[in-house]
Every structure is written in C-alpha cells, then in structure tokens.
Symmetry: C2
Subunit: 258 residues, 2 copies
Amino acid sequence: MQYLNISAKDNPRIKRVIKLQKSGHYRREEGFFVLEGLRTVDDAADNGILIEELYFTNDIIEKHPSYIKKFAQNSNFCAIISETVAKNISDTTSTQGVFAVAQFPKNKAQIESGKKYIALENLQDPSNLGAVARTAEALGIDAIIISGNSCDPFSPKSIRASMGTLLRVPLIFADNMAEFIGKLDMPTFACVVQSDAEKLSDMDFSGGAVCVIGNEANGLTDETVEKCRKRITIPMKGKAESLNAAAAAAIVMWEMVK
Amino acid sequence: MQYLNISAKDNPRIKRVIKLQKSGHYRREEGFFVLEGLRTVDDAADNGILIEELYFTNDIIEKHPSYIKKFAQNSNFCAIISETVAKNISDTTSTQGVFAVAQFPKNKAQIESGKKYIALENLQDPSNLGAVARTAEALGIDAIIISGNSCDPFSPKSIRASMGTLLRVPLIFADNMAEFIGKLDMPTFACVVQSDAEKLSDMDFSGGAVCVIGNEANGLTDETVEKCRKRITIPMKGKAESLNAAAAAAIVMWEMVK
C-alpha cells in the first residue's frame, strides 16, 4: 500500500493533531482526541472507537507491519510521518511513532438505581484519574461520574495512566457535581476527611450507591457534601492528613463491591 | 542575621546539592538528601531530621521570615541563593526557593512478629511509592519494606508524592526481597494477579502479616512468590489486566488493618 509522506511540521493536519494533543478545550469542541502507541491504538480499534486519521513512522511500519495494516484499514486517512514530526506530536519522551486521531468513545452511561458509581469532583491529576479508571474497571464499578472542572479523561496523560481503560469504562459527565447529586434518587455518599463522619466499613452499599471523591488538595465542595445523603470517612492514624485521591477511591470502591 | 550570598552556579556547595538532587547513588553514598519547599523542610525539622545546610532566596525570607529563622537556627550552614541558582537546584517547575540538605531520616525499623508490614519489590514509580507511604501511615501499617531495586524513597519526587510521609513512616530496606522474605518467621503473602490464588477478602491478618506488592509492569519475581506462605489476589472483572500498584497496595493495607 502507498501512503502519503509528511515531514513538514507546519503541515495543517499535523498542526491540528498537535492542537488536539495539547488543548482539552479543542478536544471537546471537535469531539476528537489523539491516541498514541501501538497498544493504545489497538485497544481503541478493538473497542469500536472510530479512527479518523492514522500517522506512523517508517520505523514502526518495519517493526509491526501487520498492526499498521490493520489500523490503516480502519481509518479514513493514513500518512507516514518523519521522526521529527513524530517527536513534535508525541506527549512522551520516547515515542513509538504511531498516532491515531479518534472520535470520543461512546462509553457514555446513564444512572440506574441499584448500580454502583464512583464520582470525581474537580480531580486534577490525570494519573489519579487513570488509576481510578483502572480500579473501577477491575472491581466492576458500573460507571465513573466526572465533574466538569475535573481533568480531561481524553488527554494523553489520562489515557496513558489508565492503560486504555478510559476508552472502555462507562463515563458520565456532570457539569456541576452538587446539582447532579441533588437530582439523584439513590443513596449518595460524600467521602470526607472528618472524624465525625460515618465509618466506610459500617456502610451497606448493596442497594446501589454513588460515592463522591473530591479534589486532591481541597476535597469536596461544601455544596456537594450537603447534597449527599451521608458523609463517610476512612479512619486515619498518625500525622496523616489525607490519602492520595486514587488510593482513597480504591478503598471506597473495594468496599462498594465486596 | 547576616547570611552568605551565593549566585554562582558552579559554587562547589551548590554543585553538591544538585548532585544530591539528581543521583540516588550519591545520596546513598553520602547518607544525605535534599528537601525542597517550606512545608517539607518544616515537617522534617519537626520530625527530628538533622538539617546540615539551608539555602533560600531573598524572596522567601521576605515572605516567611519566621520560618526561615527557625530553620536557620537548626542548621549548620545557611546561605542566600539567587533565583537562578534556586531554579538550578529545584526538581519542580516553580520553586518556592527554600532547600535543606538533610541527613537520611532515622526511621529505620525492625520486623516484629504480630505487626503488619507492606513490602514493595522493584517498585519503580516515585508517585506510587509516595502514595503507598501516605496510605501506610494513614491506616497505621507498622513499616514499609523496600527492596534494593525499588525507586529511592529519598528522591525529590518520592518525598513530594508522599507529602513528607516518607520522612516519618518507618522503613526497612531489603536488598533482595526473596531472601528477606525467606528468613521471616511470620505469615507472608504474595499479592499476585492469578485467578487460582486465594481471595484477599478470605484472609485473616490478625496475627500479623507481610504483604508483598510487585513491580508496576511485571509484578513480583517468581523467587519472591515462592518464598511467601500464601498467594493472594484481588479478584478482577472486565478486560482489566491489573490494578495500579498504589491502588492495589491501598486495598491490601485496608484489609490488613480492618
């Protein structure tokens, strides 16, 4: 198969790819994002994510011809890019040299009573979001609810940290978490660092639940805590002031499903 | 109080500080490491960590004179550094402008039967190590056992991710994890991703335990798994292949102490 060659950094397609890598606002506006790496692109293809454009270096087509052939068959536009262009597009320090422009995954979900959800308000670290997604999928949480002011689940860092899980696990977007929680007709739990809150281990999540985890530095907003039916906490010892958000979420999700 | 001024990047003291920031080998050789930021230096001073040298910018002494005075009284050498030198020393993108060269904390511990330990074999990501330390302290785990090939708990990234917890939580260093585990006379548990392993939730940790978590990509070595009395697992659903190491450790430690 013959492919177009792109080696100019100011090629308009390449400029768009770089913008999609860097700007969450642009990603949301377009409804497209960039996947990087053989494994991630393969995962996406297997999960029915629509690949619009595919870019790869000569190096990777030599190393993995069958993968590139498979990806190319499923995309509307393909081009070979130079190593320099690959480095410009890449969000990592050592790129494999394969990128796909893909449509946002259709893993949007709806709230159903009796099911179990982890909700994230203003979570800022893509590594934490990625780790929460991995834990949620592994433990069988039904969906992740993400507030509008949280970090972007379709940023390169989030997707990498999630090992591709964010392309599969059902997501629900809540512009304003307090308003969203206020409208739900099911048990809702605010996870807080307060010694007078109820203990996580005393809770019964068997009838379905939404547990809300807050921002890394500031926890949940007062408004969201107020809208939840209960305040729950992981009792802490020593001089510890809080847990890492992804670690707290892991413990909460473990209790929700066991 | 009058302080020495340092603005030359090739000042030998500054060169040593930069080397201590960058090289784990040099830190172990010297037994010293670098603390960065007001909060971290203050935490260290409060925890009895010996501060050998203190470096700060004019900017931070103007903003926080009482802190700097307190730190200076406890250190053997103080100097005002230029903003450029501060940027050269710093491991972060925006530095507060205060650094301490400190002796390794004396938080070394010994194994005692009946107590509870989390062990990390070949853990590579300082963010994971930091998160494990935060969870261990918060849940009251007695000490963290760290294998020789794990990332350095006294690297700037580890300390930052741990929010200073690594300066407080007792640490035990095990050159070779398999050998270390083999010599213990107490229940030892290898945390694995194997469906034929025993379920974490079926275990009884009340008599004390060592639970071992492995490398982010490859898990535990066969040698270490063999030396442990039991193989335990967190049952997983969906297409998930594993949990983030810090999330898995959080769930395991939660079960150990409840």
